[in-house]
């Protein structure tokens, strides 16, 4: 991301935008949804699915387009992630990617 607007880098404007939408989500739920007694079930299901749905799109392409070391790392992390806490899985994944790349995979 390059260029400036009103003397500030676009990166800074993007961060400000991200901060505004994040605050909007944190304050907006109380302001808007508290007017409903109950959220319609399908809307509720959609809202519940959003974070996992977004995050999965950042993992899946990385698994198939990066290379064998990366694919193997994510496959093993997926398998152990069901049993181990996040931090343990993350550290093992980190060690794996370093080791597999060093091994030339």
């Amino acid at each position: 991301m390059t260029g400036e607007f009103l003397g500030l880098p676009m990166t800074v404007w993007t961060i400000i935008g991200a901060a505004i939408v994040t605050y909007a989500a944190r304050a907006g739920g109380h302001l808007v949804l508290s007017r409903f007694r109950r959220i319609p079930p399908r809307i509720d299901a959609a809202l519940n699915a959003v974070p996992a749905a977004v995050l999965a799109t950042l993992v899946a392409p990385a698994a198939v387009t990066s290379g064998p070391a990366e694919a193997v790392t994510l496959a093993i992390c997926l398998a152990i992630g069901f049993r181990l806490p996040m931090m343990a899985m993350f550290c093992i994944g980190w060690a794996l990617i370093v080791a597999l790349r060093a091994a030339g995979l």
Binding site: T2, M10, T11, V12, W13, T14, I15, G17, A18, V21, T22, A24, A25, R26, G28, G29, H30, L31, S34, R37, R38, I39, P41, R42, D44, A45, A46, L47, N48, A49, V50, P51, A52, A53, V54, L55, A56, T57, L58, V59, A60, P61, A62, A63, V64, T65, E70, T73, L74, C77, M86, M87, M89, F90, G93, W94, I97, V98, R101, A102
Partner: protein, 236 residues
């Protein structure tokens, strides 16, 4: 000690496990931010203003790919959209807050802040602004400091690939995806988003694979029969 002060320090004590758990990720954010082309100042600015770990990482991933700013902002919004539910749910719990305190409180409404507030309310303890800020401020202040520390050390790393730094975000995101696995219809949603994003990646191209893949997952969630009605319900 006045009730207000003791409540504040009860909040500080409740924040300590969160502070410890968030510290590595706060520093990782700073390091990855610099690795993705942000300055240390921009990394600190992002931690101080957005204050939402997962979405900050998503922002970084997209900053690195020279994507239109509005798409970055939209993606951050998508990841943080769950806070709408926290906000709506917490709204019922903060009757003791003064009207001017509520807009401040919502800024600090992270996942652990929400969980701890609900837990305190469940134990019939007073959920006051003093306790809430005692919980929030240590996490917030250290989150900013960690971005600075991580950023300074990140700029010392000359070969991120050899240390695996460039591939930490997908591993981190995978961990977050797994963290949501108790949600209704989690598996079909994740499969639909994953396959949808790969398909979109090869046909439409990046960055549209993010929104199109997410849309596929959300559509599946809407079409499948709802599970466990108590989940995500707002009314008590």
């Amino acid at each position: 000690m006045s009730p207000t002060r003791s409540e504040f320090f009860q909040g500080v004590r409740a924040s300590l496990p969160i502070v410890a758990a968030a510290a590595p990720f706060g520093m990782l954010f700073g390091a990855l931010a610099v690795d993705n082309g942000l300055t240390v100042g921009e990394a600190v600015l992002m931690s101080a203003t957005v204050f939402a770990g997962a979405s900050q990482m998503v922002g970084l991933e997209l900053f690195g790919a020279s994507i239109a700013p509005w798409i970055v902002v939209l993606s951050v919004f998508a990841v943080n959209f769950r806070h709408v539910l926290y906000s709506a749910a917490l709204g019922r719990r903060i009757g003791l807050f003064k009207p001017w305190q509520k807009p401040i409180a919502f800024f600090f409404l992270t996942d652990p802040q929400y969980a701890a507030s609900e837990a305190r309310a469940d134990r019939k303890l007073a959920l006051t602004m003093s306790w809430y800020m005692g919980m929030a401020l240590p996490v917030y202040v250290l989150w900013i400091v960690e971005a600075y520390i991580g950023g300074v050390f990140g700029s010392l790393i000359t070969d991120p690939a050899a240390l695996g730094i460039d591939f930490l975000l997908p591993i981190y995101f995978l961990g977050l995806v797994l963290g949501f696995r108790a949600r209704p219809n989690w598996l079909p949603v994740v499969i639909a988003s994953g396959l949808g994003s790969i398909l979109a990646f090869y046909t439409v191209g990046s960055p549209w694979h993010v929104s199109l893949g997410a849309l596929a997952g959300v559509a599946v969630a809407m079409l499948l029969p709802p599970q466990s009605p108590e989940d995500g319900e707002i009314a008590p």
